[in-house]
Symmetry: C2
Subunit: 316 residues, 2 copies
């Protein structure tokens, strides 16, 4: 792995940016500070863009309408967006980073950078830190959520990203593994094809971007009711959010989730559970879970995170 | 297909019965009326047995503890049971009929017959009619539920079985396809790996043995939440019952379901649904389903069919 790899996949479309990249090409990475005069500008232009957090169930359309990716692009400031792509969940970060870069480039984004963090030291890199300071949109790709958290959790880079997301200065999207890391608790892995049980799911710490949710992705596609139930019954204070492929749970600033895409978002509301044997059941002994509330939300439906109630598309 | 095929897999363990079978071997099938003196006896002996309907999610243990099959055997009258096996769902009725016959034989059943109905005419066969009149337990195997219903629905044989089950004179079990047919409405087939939608499930008429339920089997094992949701949202007055493999929803006479086995029984209670787009969504457009109640019941849990409430094992 050479430093040049990072530059192969970095790309800025504006002439200034390209020039700057060329200038940087042989500079030590620590010196690659963006010129604030050229880079800060787009971010300032788009403070009016309504930021959001897009939690995507994986396998989102990258070829036809690209509805979800286009929403990310728009919510990041459209052609004036300053986009960062974090491909660190993937073992093929060059490939996947490049793919998203070309998609957003085709949409008309002029400022895109792949923040190809491959070791934790890069999470302190001043160049990357400066870039996320100026970003209007950040996209975390799929791969392995443990890898993503292992590389980025508690780095200055991630802290800065979370801070800016929480201040609603930046639109953040994560797909598949990039979606899994959104909560404080995270499903790190598990199995399917079984009833809910302790052994069915492996938990870990997430990035805590939306602490109150517990996300699972590829939900109906990969038979993940069992593992999300297994996880949520141990954390009934959290909201279980199972997102299908090519589907997005878009967390708005007004404490609602907006659903978009081809599939559904399944909400498991464990607050109503009247009984569970979760504390007693060991290994792969089945969990009992009585009186759980379940919502299947499709395109246009919303969910009120304060009232804990779905809002039909008809009423939106 | 010759008549001899039926006799290959018919089997009675008592000497009297074996003798009778030999006597019958070359008799026309219509003349094969059981001797009421030898055959009616066990049924009378066991009127005290608490009958039940065992709805089994498929792939029940046939090798080790055989807990579910043993419960069927016991509830049918144990060693004095008169058992009928209906292998008609299967395209290999001889094989599968024989397999269950040997299992119940090993448990100590002395009166077992495979009612190998392969065309609808056999549903009027006086010998079979007489046998089900004297049965204390009937077992429907797996296979294809449409095949089973196609061969047996509205035959005199099935009418007689349903009548006796409803009078609680007989214990009835069905596994996999044999479980699917229990309701008035039946899931005939469908797909998995998708969110709930109209195209995901094919419905047909079941045998109406427990009219108020809509059964799906191999539930968590084969990712069938989507199709059971798709079915139940069109029939919200029914109770969705998703049964895992090697798991049994045992319908007791007192209007409760008792859960036994290795997996879980998932109950979808659609009465609480506050909104669905079911009427509008076409083809594979995702269904919205808001405020559904879900219960995961494990071994020992019960469900009160009148109160629509689960009862934890601890309280039983």
């Amino acid at each position: 792995m050479t430093k040049n790899i990072y530059f192969d996949i970095d790309k800025k479309i504006s002439t200034v940016a390209v020039q700057q990249q060329l200038n940087c090409l042989f500079m030590p990475e620590s010196e690659m500070i963006l010129n604030p005069e050229t880079q800060a500008q787009p971010a300032e232009k788009h403070q009016s863009t309504k930021t959001a957090i897009l939690v995507i169930g994986g396998a989102e359309d990258k070829v036809h309408g690209k509805e979800i990716l286009h929403t990310f692009f728009t919510r990041s400031g459209a052609t004036d967006a300053v986009i960062g792509i974090i491909p660190s969940a993937s073992r093929e970060p060059t490939l996947i980073g490049d793919r998203y870069l070309h998609i957003f480039e085709e949409m008309g984004a002029k400022y895109i950078k792949v923040l190809d963090v491959r070791d934790r030291d890069q999470g302190e890199d001043p160049y990357y830190l400066q870039y996320v300071e100026e970003c209007t949109g950040l996209f975390m790709t799929g791969g392995d959520q443990l890898r993503l958290c292992g590389l980025l959790a508690d780095t200055t880079l991630m802290d800065k990203i979370v801070q800016r997301v929480k201040k609603r200065e930046i639109t953040l999207a994560g797909t598949s593994a990039g979606a899994a890391v959104m909560g404080y608790h995270m499903i790190a892995g598990g199995s399917s094809g079984e009833c809910p049980n302790r052994a069915l799911v492996d938990m870990a710490m997430g990035l805590g971007i939306i602490p109150e949710v517990l996300v699972d992705q590829h939900f109906h596609n990969r038979n993940r009711l069992g593992r999300l139930l297994s996880a949520i019954v141990a954390h009934p204070q959290l909201l279980g959010v199972g997102i299908d492929e090519d589907t997005c749970a878009l967390f708005e600033q007004n404490n609602t989730i907006q659903v978009m895409g081809r599939g559904t978002v399944t909400i498991l509301d464990a607050r109503t559970i009247s009984y569970t044997n979760q504390a007693q059941a060991q290994g792969n002994e089945p969990f009992s879970i009585h009186n759980l509330r379940l919502h299947v939300l499709s395109h246009g439906d919303r969910y009120d995170l304060k009232q804990h109630q779905p809002i039909p598309q008809a009423e939106t």
